[in-house]
Symmetry: C2
């Protein structure tokens, strides 16, 4: 502010000068990416307060909401991922970081229930210990955009049990160990197959602050039935996705915005030959799917191109360092 | 609450359409103020991710940072208030909600250390039990803008001990009870006076996520020496402020942006007459200050005027309901 030009730094801060001053003090940092992130964060945060004339009570309620999210979180529950999911941020961040060229498998939200302790199984393994679940035979391939199989891809697969809960949502999970989750490797033909149970729709955890927020907003907390998949192999873009069962009641109202038409799948029933070959009962629900991965290089190129185009459209003069924008200084 | 069938279908969400769709689904809520807050929040959050091309790793680091802030918080520590403080948000929210007409006492940040269990003391009480502190005699008045004394104002006063820690930062506070804090009432002349200790500069709690963030940003975590005051009386605008000791090393670089020139004070030494009158040793450090409160009505009027002007400047067509803006619908 002109009237403060003779004042020493950081004195008499007001609605109008707090933002540039906060950004100035944060710009002492040598990490230019962090400076850019903080500058945009502070600017948006302050603009939010100015546009809404945020009241002291609303401010305090928001801070207490955030404490609540942190305090209900633990090793197997991440309320802030859930918050990011229901605000559409998770879908957005995934879309920015994993752009998909035509014909490749689209991504979906990770959700808060992936764990790192799933047992590795050979193809044919049964990932579920739930006797109430409807048996599912799932036969998949993973290939490149030209239809060439990709071998030795590490595939994480996880789903809920028939009650709509992930294993980590049950008491005693430490003793019982993981269930309804496994890790597989694709073979020379890019194939992997497993036995699981037919996914069911389920409510996201709604006993915490995020559930209360959805209730206040008049939103339901359900996700349509799906199976999670995560694909990893050096040189290939990390793919986090899910397959959604066609016809689910929540197909077009997923609480976390994850559904894409290309990820909605149909199931059939295993015929006699298939049943014999894969060691299941005839008539078992059968899901077949072909996943298509993109190389890391192709993804990086597409991501860089999208970034530069978007930033230019926003009128921002930026350069990319390690594929992340920082301001271009004169 | 709108039924599901009224909600727009949510399918194939992308970088470009996730924001309007999230806002549309949140707009089912009947509370128009909450809808407005959520709309601005989601828009800023998404714009932040789009402008920074936020990476999945940065997103995860941010969510884990927030979990850390929640988990280190407890009854006597609120890491999110601290975060709001160091990001300049607290100062901004206070400025929006408590605009000050000329001649009134300016506000400052509340900080995370106010408690509700301070003992009520008559004027003359000694709020400190710290034998290491430099004794301070503080004689104050509270008046209106025309110089008329205001009686029966409830005044909360709190400061650190001589080591720069609030009582709640020490072990065993539950047993020992509050120290360096008290509540007083102004008398017929608007006067209140107390014995305390001379404030010292101190670092804000920096053993948690917020401290680590400041370190990463190359910012120090110090606050200049100050005494906190909070004034409450029906019909008068709630005043949260502080008095800062002139000449402090951190006077112009307060980690939480709280210092205003009008709140920087000088101390003198109690002369013989004063010492005798107030029951302290001659030469005791003496701080005299006159606080000026504004009526609730005057503050509300000023707040409404500022809000409408600011929103108009932003090109937003809004109306105020309970002094808070919501969009003016056609």
């Amino acid at each position: 502010m002109a009237s403060e030009s003779n004042a020493p730094p950081l004195l008499d801060l007001t609605i109008d000068n707090i933002t540039p001053n906060t950004n100035r003090i944060n710009s002492q940092c040598k990490d230019q990416r962090l400076v850019y992130l903080m500058t945009r964060l502070v600017t948006h945060l302050h603009d939010f307060a100015r546009e809404t004339r945020l009241s002291s009570e609303e401010w305090m309620a928001a801070l207490n909401f955030l404490v609540g999210c942190g305090q209900i979180s633990n090793d197997v529950r991440h309320e802030f991922i859930l918050l990011s999911d229901v605000l559409g941020l998770s879908l957005l961040v995934d879309s920015i970081n994993h752009p998909k060229p035509p014909k490749s498998t689209e991504g979906s939200v990770l959700g808060p229930f992936h764990t790192h302790d799933a047992p590795t199984m050979p193809s044919g393994g049964d990932m579920s210990s739930d006797p109430e679940g409807v048996p599912l035979l799932c036969i998949c391939t993973v290939k490149d955009i030209n239809g060439k199989p990709i071998k030795d891809v590490k595939i994480d697969i996880w789903e809920t049990d028939s009650s709509g809960h992930y294993d980590v949502q049950h008491e005693g999970r430490d003793e019982k160990g993981p269930s309804e989750r496994c890790v597989m490797l694709s073979d020379e033909e890019g194939t992997f197959w497993f036995k699981g149970i037919k996914p069911v729709s389920y409510p996201i955890p709604h006993d915490g602050p995020v559930g209360k927020l959805l209730e206040k907003l008049g939103r339901h907390c359900w996700r349509p039935a799906h199976l999670h998949f995560m694909f990893e192999k050096e040189g290939w873009d990390h793919l986090i996705t899910a397959l959604y069962m066609r016809g689910d009641k929540y197909e077009t109202s997923d609480a976390v915005f994850g559904v894409k038409q290309s990820l909605i799948v149909d199931t059939t029933m295993a015929d006699k030959a298939t049943a014999e070959k894969y060691g299941v009962k005839e008539g078992t629900t059968l899901l077949k799917h072909d996943f298509v991965l993109v190389t890391k290089q192709e993804t990086d190129d597409l991501k860089d191109k999208n970034a530069m185009e978007a930033l230019e459209k926003l009128g921002l003069r930026m350069k990319l360092v390690d594929h992340l924008p920082i301001p271009e200084l004169d």
